[in-house]
Point group: C2
Chain length 406, copies 2
């Protein structure tokens, strides 16, 4: 319930309502906030003062307008005093960022796993790397607000449990508990923590930091070894009953098509994902990373005909998937990300072409398909975005940032 | 913004928070509401008194527990004093219901259109029929709260405009304006009015009145001449950027498959919908309703082999569509409705079979697929459900029930 008798929660809801308003409309004055948010001017002034003291907000210099009377001072999110941490526990290693409140990267770090097969060791390695990142001189004067972690598999975000990460071979890993245990005694021990699947995290990066704020529905399609999506509907991440929503890699695009790792046939995963491309180019299921992928990207770059034909075929199937997402969600924005974006227009141009053909057939305008601005940092930045997203929504049941630890 | 300075709106939000709480947990006491909703006991008592005076709530008789002190009086939605109206402006005629606050039908009415080709005449006919229904003796002592209308096409619910109803041949019909004009001077002139696509309306019937309360995501797949869906995500109807979300009839299930009325090939519509079945059985595009459909249903009932084969093939494609909705949404509940349900298990059993095969292949449990409890009244009852849904959410921007009229 929103309208709560808990005065502390109510105050935090009101504070964050002001912050969210300034995210979408930077430069508003206290009077403007009062009118828009519906709080009295004195309450707004009080809360803004607190938020400025804590580093959330800052004032611009007054503009000399020459008008009489007290001029309205523009307020903004403060990019200078707070920081967010984001971590991508990837397939072959870690990628970490610290950003300011606006998503600008202040420091970053990436390293291969010491032992990718040992999930607990990888989480402990992430904890060490995060602690080192937090000690980076670039962050020294800042207060850390929260940490968001993206995992390459199915996640229960309410408990921080990773069900399965197929390309890592990890199963039932209590990432929240392991991370809390590894961070005990460090400066990050009590930092609010949020854990979610990589595509969902990257969707939050789009929502919070890419200028796509307010885009709804917003779809981020992640194409790596497999295919997944993070989808924002009605202002929030769609998680589904068991947290599996957005697993669009297992929509059937070709009945009776090639076998998928999930057991079905003709899934998007088996027609579009990098594993499918490796299989198509090299023959059935090779032991994968990292060299086969490099070979695939290199072959595409040097124009190898068989590789380009396989990539173009995958791109056409991607166009079908995009059509199916279009009609099901009527999205305001579709972003494409993931490791397969290294294939660039070899993959994306055929997809756009197929989508454009469908659009022409129906006389409707297809949604724009974008590549996100964050490149290889999409998921790590998404972690920071997720922390900001949930911290700004203290009334939201999801990802309360308080996984109790072990 | 929720936390508003507008005291009337804030009061209405608080009142409806109590009503929503009692929808989900009937029998709560004032003290229980106070604790759950976070309002003081005195505020709850005041608001409950108002809601009882207005007919929203009622008290049960006190239970004699023998305990000392004042006993907690159970509160419920009142089924006796208020009413909701729902209208289904169908393909061949009107179907109207009046329900109580709990969705129990108090009165109903159906009639064929005088002239289905004339959209304005059909809306005027609906206005007359609604006025007659509202005068039904069964409603005499009740206060009407709102009217919800389901239309068989793409709707802009914010303006009440019907973009296109393909099987009626209606285009760009200002249903809200026409209805308001026709109702001017009647007892329904100022009744809050909500207008939406039929599958979306039927999804709201599931959410509000079927015992699926809180099911999220909830998907209602409507199979009539075409295929559409109403989808509830994050507690609200998913409408999409232009109101077209849920048009899953135009997901491609078979690349290069049969041509669809939309211009694409291999859409769910062209593989599953009744028009596709008519085409399959009778040859390409006959002039349709109502006799060809009756013939189709009769042929299936008497076990005509060619008809049953075509229906079973459609059912298998429906299973693929259900798989694709499953992985994209991870729904708590999928309901199947629409005129094609007349084909019963001839259509649904092959769909369940295909879905079960996918589930077995993945070792996951497929979502349950239900047929809704409301039969031919699903959309009309959905209209009543939509009115209750939005009236109970006064902070929601959608369907504010105040289409200004002409």
């Amino acid at each position: 319930m929103i309208v709560a008798g808990d005065q502390q929660l109510l105050k935090q809801i009101n504070r964050m309502a002001l912050v969210r308003q300034l995210c979408g409309a930077p430069g508003m004055s206290r009077a403007g906030l009062s009118e828009t948010v519906g709080l009295t001017k004195s309450t707004v002034s009080l809360l803004v003062r607190e938020l400025m003291d804590e580093g959330w907000l800052t004032e611009s210099a007054l503009r000399a307008t020459g008008a009489l009377g007290r001029r309205a001072t523009p307020l903004h999110l403060d990019g200078e005093r707070l920081a967010l941490l984001g971590a991508d526990l990837g397939i072959t290693g870690l990628r970490l960022v610290a950003t300011n409140l606006l998503g600008v990267v202040l420091a970053e770090r990436d390293e291969p796993y010491d032992d990718a097969a040992d999930a607990a060791a990888c989480v402990a390695q992430a904890a060490r790397a995060l602690t080192a990142l937090a000690a980076d001189a670039a962050l020294a004067p800042r207060t850390l607000l929260g940490l968001g972690v993206g995992l390459h598999g199915a996640v229960d975000d309410t408990s921080g449990l990773l069900h399965v990460a197929p390309h890592l071979g990890w199963r039932n890993v209590d990432v929240a508990g392991l991370l809390r245990a590894s961070l005990a005694g460090t400066a990050l021990a009590t930092l609010p923590l949020f854990i979610q699947n990589e595509a969902k995290v990257a969707a939050l990066a789009e929502l919070e930091f890419s200028g796509e704020r307010g885009a709804d529905p917003l779809i981020y399609v992640s194409i790596g070894y497999g295919v997944g999506a993070g989808i924002i509907v009605n202002g929030r991440l769609m998680t589904g009953l068991y947290g599996f929503a957005g697993e669009v890699g297992h929509t059937i695009l070709q009945q009776g098509g090639p076998p998928c790792s999930c057991g079905r046939r003709g899934c998007a995963d088996a027609l579009i994902g990098l594993q499918a491309l490796l299989d198509a180019v090299h023959g059935p299921r090779q032991p994968a990373p990292p060299e086969p992928l490099q070979q695939l990207f290199s072959a595409a770059e040097r124009g190898d005909a068989a590789t380009l034909a396989a990539v173009a075929a995958a791109g056409r199937h991607l166009g079908v998937l995009l059509n199916n997402l279009w009609v099901a969600f009527d999205p305001m924005s579709i972003a494409l990300g993931g490791a397969a974006m290294r294939l660039g227009e070899h993959l994306v141009a055929p997809a756009r072409q197929v989508l454009a053909e469908y659009a022409a057939a129906t006389s409707l305008a297809a949604p724009a398909v974008r590549t996100p601005p964050f490149g290889a940092n999409s998921i790590a930045i998404g972690g920071a975005a997720m922390a900001r997203h949930y911290l700004m929504r203290p009334f939201d049941g999801h990802g309360v940032g308080s996984y109790a630890g072990t």
